[in-house]
């Protein structure tokens, strides 16, 4: 399925765990340090450095770009580390997250409650994913260096729906489908 970003409630309602999706549009990068700052801002009642409503955050820390490249290799990082920062961002209107690996129960509940979707990209396919990123701008927290929040323009960026708004979890369902009994 091809999706133009940002995400609307209508689009989000159509997505089911296991769907193969290609994104075109804008996504924002954020890792641990940026998440900590964003959540601190929300706690203090301050606004975020970009309008988060309907947006998608990508958990990524790319390699430095080689001359002539827009961005270096840029695959997803382990999402679990960001679990404790995720529910407040979903409450603030974040609609999509791209990472790798499973999410804890609190995040899954928040996805359902605030109608957000968690997508996975293929971990370790950093060169391939970077090819789908066409433009990069720093939008906030420049002092964080590699962890600064960047705005990426992507085309046909491949992801898979892992947790949909109905509470389905691809990782759990996939595992039970292929589990075998061996002595």
């Amino acid at each position: 399925m091809d999706i133009k970003l940002p995400l609307t409630d209508e689009t989000v309602a159509k997505l089911r765990a296991g769907d193969d999706v290609r994104f075109t549009g804008v996504i924002y990068t954020a890792r641990d340090a940026a998440h900590r700052r964003m959540v601190e801002s929300l706690d203090k009642g301050e606004s975020l450095p970009f309008d988060i409503r309907g947006q998608v955050i990508y958990y990524v820390g790319p390699t430095p770009a080689k001359p002539g490249q827009v961005i270096g290799s840029a695959g997803p990082t382990t999402s679990m580390r960001l679990d404790r920062f995720t529910p407040p961002l979903l409450a603030a209107g974040l609609k999509g997250i791209i990472g790798k690996g499973g999410r804890g129960q609190a995040v899954r509940d928040a996805l359902k409650q605030y109608k957000g979707v968690y997508f996975i990209a293929v971990g370790g396919a950093g060169a391939l994913l970077a090819r789908q990123i066409k433009k990069v701008d720093i939008v906030a927290y420049e002092d964080l260096g590699t962890e600064a929040v960047r705005r990426l323009e992507v085309e046909d960026f491949p992801v898979i729906v892992c947790n949909d708004i109905y509470g389905s979890d691809l990782l759990e369902e996939g595992k039970s489908r292929y589990k075998l009994a061996v002595g």
């Binding site: 382990t78 971990g123 691809l170 595992k175 292929y178 075998l180």
Partner: protein, 281 residues
């Protein structure tokens, strides 16, 4: 006595860092292709296709396979008749890492003060160096850029001797199951059994330097490797944990005699981006 210059060592390490991060070893590539043939899950097949295409692209354009270019783990086999000249061996390896990560546009992921400030060292040093003294007059260098996603799933247990093979098997399966999608399956599972606590962990990592799927020399260990691989793949975790037949490309077990009261077992997981390059000087 044979002289090996520090400068040659530095240059070699710099080259190995760059090659390892862009060129997936042939044995890993072959194992991934076989996995693609065997995988039944449609999503799993698509993921393996992306992984294979990524490897091709990285090789063609000399790009890092993965953005996490790792902690630089270096295995050295120093011949007892080799003579390192022109500097401090560990220092020249460090220089090689600095150069390789700079010239290769690799990500610098090491932080100082692990439990407090966590400040990036900005050149990916220090590397983690394992040194063994062996017969001969050569120096073998293996560079393994080891990602955090898989390394963080490492486990150690000191089992009771009576728990035996079943205890070992259960422990390995639990480690793989708990790791889920975090180490980017399909994975290679390194297992160290015996010795002392630190030796078991080190054997588990050493097991990952073996060519994928090349069996251990000991028949009983080969049986255990085979059984573990079957059981790991029966978990159904699959590529990137979306469900499937291929969770692991191989299980490599290394063992060592141990104390009468003890049964240490360690697991060290390698991701599909199983980067490793070696040179012999």
């Amino acid at each position: 006595m044979r002289d090996i210059s520090c400068q040659t060592i530095s240059e070699t390490v710099a080259r190995l860092c760059q090659e390892a991060t862009s060129l997936l070893p042939d044995d890993v590539l072959q194992a991934l292709k076989k996995a693609r043939d065997k995988e039944e899950s449609p999503l799993g097949q698509k993921i393996l296709d992306q992984i294979l295409e990524n490897a091709e692209l990285a090789k063609k354009e000399m790009l890092p396979l993965c953005q996490d270019t790792g902690t630089t783990v270096v295995f050295l086999e120093v011949g007892q008749d080799a003579h390192i000249v022109g500097g401090d061996l560990n220092e020249c390896i460090k220089q090689g890492v600095i150069e390789g990560y700079d010239k290769g546009y690799l990500r610098k992921s090491m932080v100082e003060r692990p439990f407090s400030a966590r400040v990036n060292t900005k050149d990916n040093t220090p590397p983690v160096i394992h040194t063994e003294i062996v017969p001969g007059d050569k120096l073998k260098i293996q560079v393994m850029p080891k990602g955090g996603g898989c390394e963080n799933m490492s486990r150690l247990a000191i089992l009771l001797p009576a728990e035996g093979k079943k205890g070992v098997t259960d422990f390995v399966l639990r480690a793989v199951e708990e790791a889920g999608g975090n180490p980017c399956p399909p994975i290679i599972v390194g297992v160290g059994i015996g010795g002392t606590a630190e030796l078991a962990v080190s054997l588990a990592k050493k097991a990952l330097t073996r060519k994928v799927g090349r069996p251990n020399a000991d028949a009983e260990v080969v049986d255990l490797e085979r059984e573990l691989l079957e059981k790991v793949n029966a978990l159904g975790i699959g590529p990137q944990a979306v469900g499937g037949r291929i969770t692991a490309l191989a299980v490599h077990v290394e063992t060592h005699p141990t104390h009468i009261t003890s049964l240490p077992v360690a697991v060290n997981i390698q991701c599909h981006s199983a980067r490793l390059k070696e040179a012999v000087l």
